[in-house]
Symmetry: C2
Subunit: 336 residues, 2 copies
Amino acid sequence: MKVSLKDLAQICGCSVTSVSRALKDSDTISKELREKVKSKAKELGYVPNLLAGSMRTGYTNTLAVILPDLRNPYFSLLAKYAEEYATSKGYSVFFMTTNEISEHEHDAVMKAMQKNVDGILLLPNQLDTQSIDIMNKMNFPYVLFGRIFDDIKADSVVVNDEMGGYLATKHLIEKGHSRILFLNSFMHIFSSQARFRGYKKALKEGGIPFNEEDVKYISTKIGDSEKIVEEIFSKENDYTAIFCYCDVIAFEAIFRLNKMGYAVPQDIAIASTDDIHSEIVLPIQLTSVGFDRAEYVKCAIDTLINNIKHAASPSKKEKEYVQKMIDVKLTIGQTT
Amino acid sequence: MKVSLKDLAQICGCSVTSVSRALKDSDTISKELREKVKSKAKELGYVPNLLAGSMRTGYTNTLAVILPDLRNPYFSLLAKYAEEYATSKGYSVFFMTTNEISEHEHDAVMKAMQKNVDGILLLPNQLDTQSIDIMNKMNFPYVLFGRIFDDIKADSVVVNDEMGGYLATKHLIEKGHSRILFLNSFMHIFSSQARFRGYKKALKEGGIPFNEEDVKYISTKIGDSEKIVEEIFSKENDYTAIFCYCDVIAFEAIFRLNKMGYAVPQDIAIASTDDIHSEIVLPIQLTSVGFDRAEYVKCAIDTLINNIKHAASPSKKEKEYVQKMIDVKLTIGQTT
DNA sequence: CTGTTAGCGCTTTCAA
DNA sequence: TTGAAAGCGCTAACAG
């Protein structure tokens, strides 16, 4: 049932090499042989074994994209663009998820390397640098995206999260809010730190004092946002606005606030980050900071592909690290 | 930099075979050698080349999951569960998307086969059966999920979409609606046909006459739902409810209706299918028909894995086709 | 224009 | 308990 080059060679009465070349339309093979081989190949349903080829060439034309999860539309949209762009560049992609668990990240990186992917696009947990250390030690092509470390030099593509935090908070302040709750994510994550800086900067510019108690650190897992909103707003408080780390946190916050009898934005205004609505129209459009996701992913993958090519090249002694940051922009929706 | 079994053999002063066996903890290798090999492997950062192994064994422990797209949360949630369950079963997964384009589906299937995946989980476009014909011809292990054909025998796992259409429509009728617009997807798709049947059945039971003009056929691409809602509700009409093919269509419908000044559910009630809210809490909870997604995907992958195992086994002459259907249940939200 | 040879890194007989 | 040899399917280097 399975046809190999060898079979074709036998049938066409030529060598395996000639068959290989004929199928690649090499000029060094006569038109006739080329036609004959190709027609036989089609007739017999020949399916090239790309893995066998990659054993020789050293390239699998496969990438691994490692993300926290595929539940959050923010990440699945990244996955969408990664799949589409990588495919257009001739790569297949393994998606692997970490659920923000160190061990999973490590396993994913190892598995990717064991399966000989040409490169890894990693959105790291930032709980440790174990998996990154491994890739460095192995001199394995990779690009960090979305999150970077202060003390690790690597090719990276991130979003201007500080600007995001700043723009969202500033917008709330301009709308007249001075008591702004910040539902942030955990501070070991790059984006949380950056948005935190942006939030503080906007407060400062607006002449609003910063209170550590106005910032809460929660996960983006289902239910966490609802829970903290329930907790805070069932007690006495004077918040009139919330800046949410990301849309899924904002979604839950709004859902819970509504359930509790608060109107958004009349009672509580909400601004956040991700602008998922620009790609998945939802019943309510959030005021949210977005960016060009297609461009972001394209940039990351281009960097990775470059990296893969350069890994083979000679002059990789003193490499210059690529460190890109994507611009953001605020879209005003119905929640402020 | 890269360490192979050969390198380890040289270092440990034994054969490649012994190294291979030692790393697999084979009983046929002395405890000492095993320990020595394993410690050297760790020390030198040995990364097994799984592809090389699979050339011999014939198995890559890799699956391909082919979906329409990763934008629609419905599909990305399937991707999430597929990735998680496949990983737990020791498989890596290639995700490929078709955007409901025949050629893309064909390319995806071919690429998957060329990369020697052990099996393919396919959510087919249903525009043609080209890619399925190829897999059949090649006797390649696959499972159809989400959508099946009347005239094609294959292992499959689908959702009880007819029941979904029935439950949603029936609920609207029980809420007192008799003029129900149905924003369906295209009728070449299994789910559209099935939900259509369910819709009609519920109407009939409710003693409501069926009008062909009450059913619109649209894509789930961004903007299509908004457009048709705009068209219909800017003209004279007597609809008091909409049954949407899926949540993303419903989301857009609600967004557009609100923009046009209609209140949901006061002016127009909305019911749909997918129940995305059960996994991604959104600002508004739709009345929607859902099902156990984790179980659904698990079932599909288990069937596929079984298929892979049986493809190798002898008695595959007269195979019984596995055809499963997952139960659905209506969740009442805030839109009816 | 075509073929021979070698080998990618592993596993799997078969032998010792 | 260990090893030698063969080979998975392909491509690349070299030869003619």
